[in-house]
Symmetry: C2
Subunit: 329 residues, 2 copies
Amino acid sequence: MQHATETIRHSLAPATQGYVLGVDIGGTNLRLALASRKGRIVSRLCTTTVGTRNPEDVLRQIVDGADIMLQEQGLGRQHLRCIGAGAPGITDVDNGVVVATSYLFGWKDVPLARLLEEALHVPAAIDNDVNLATLAEGWAGTAKGETDFVFLAVGTGIGAGIMLRGALLRGKDWLAGEIGYMVVPGTSEAPDAPGIPGALERVSGGEGIRTVWGEHCSARGMKQSPEVTTAEIFELARNGDEFSQSIVEQCATPLAYAIHNMALVLNVPLVVMGGSVGTNPMYLSAVRAALQRRSHRSTPVLGASGLDRDAQLIGAVRLAMSKLADRQR
Amino acid sequence: MQHATETIRHSLAPATQGYVLGVDIGGTNLRLALASRKGRIVSRLCTTTVGTRNPEDVLRQIVDGADIMLQEQGLGRQHLRCIGAGAPGITDVDNGVVVATSYLFGWKDVPLARLLEEALHVPAAIDNDVNLATLAEGWAGTAKGETDFVFLAVGTGIGAGIMLRGALLRGKDWLAGEIGYMVVPGTSEAPDAPGIPGALERVSGGEGIRTVWGEHCSARGMKQSPEVTTAEIFELARNGDEFSQSIVEQCATPLAYAIHNMALVLNVPLVVMGGSVGTNPMYLSAVRAALQRRSHRSTPVLGASGLDRDAQLIGAVRLAMSKLADRQR
């Protein structure tokens, strides 16, 4: 009885405060976090989305995951107050709709916020994954306390989250920050085609770096491993392989030009590089060096994300906290 | 007596409303406008700034001009309520200071708002000329009623005024929109040097177009007139001269890339081209064609300024009206 009473006491105290759920729907993983309304994460859960990418399946996984985490904490559904969720694509945050995701994921006009609200009976807010990472960087990351900065997600693709005067810039069609399609010296001038990555991504994104590496191998008649990863190219460069170093520099330069161009438009003091490719120290320093060669009075400080792959999930928690605070204002 | 009485009556009625002064300090001309507080311009004045570019001389010209216009309307200094002024350079609008202008004009840290307030004993607000033209376009021009658009000033140099959610984006160091320094395919990758126009301006600005024209003439061993103007090149192209047409296209393409890049960052629905070069129909249509070749879901509509060289002056009047309204709120 003593134990039971204590458990009740323990869960009654936070229950008056309530909890929020952060959801990061990714191309391969679904990550969930249960957090206090002040943002302290008390439980996490990660499952795969491979093979279960349709909205109904993902929704079921979210509901099941939320129940598991609540149960683990001795809490019930009634303790959940709000949800923040991110999806990899174009999101209409006003209407809570995922307008489109990459062809891999295949979502189109999914009313994610409404689906979450109907499933869990609490308010839900959504945004795209890059914007959520941007929220997280400004709240708890490298850009903590900054009202004006850009978060640059560099993985397979390249996208930017733009924070101006403390608010995310979204753009007319929710497309602000799609800089993977920039044209700069070193990118192709060929028009973009549907379903094909943008001109900048094709050179400076993770897949682009592999492609450029492969092309140079072929051109030199070099034997190449078709299985080489971007991480391995960076590792070769770090170990002094001059060929790999030249590839890294060649791919970093267009990205530096894109940052230069973006900074001319926005004049933000800080750009935070994130994503699996963007946070690689070899790549970061190559981009930084190229940016310095371009030096202009608008040139921003180039930092690295410290939140790593947690950025989106932390941002989702932050989004839920803001939504809850707004509703109780 | 009858006449005199009528004059008094006439000037007493508007006097209760008061007037605002718009000031456009340009590289060659100083333009002034006296307007009702609702923005109806009742008098204009234009003088030269050549040879009288130091702040004291310009200030004296402004004061003299204001007095002349007031007098013409049968008004006195007491009828002036507010001043809005623009200068060609970097302006700190919070502190009313012209931080720097081009080397031609040579101003550095001039407290223009304070100087105007001391000289005319009414509140004054300042901004840079491109931002003022942007205000004007959104108030009475091609972007009327739009809360999100870019005004692109293309004259000798190239600069952008960025309106987001109905407010001008200024940037950390008042440098937002300096896109004349963008690097895109077709611009030099050489670092920018102090006092030298930016990479984009050197190809796509008025002086740049002349330079490219001259370089191609030399390369082809053609005899060229060193006195050819950008307007003449456009005219030649319009009259079917294929060489000039190819130059116009070559210079328009980098500008279209810069607009494409900027639109990817901001996702604004409308870009308004202004300035003596930017409003030339030949150039505008060449830029538009190049932009369409780049087509992306972010591609904005490309319009032409209808305010022409009045844009800055009208924007200065608008700035004065806003300042006055803010103070009386």
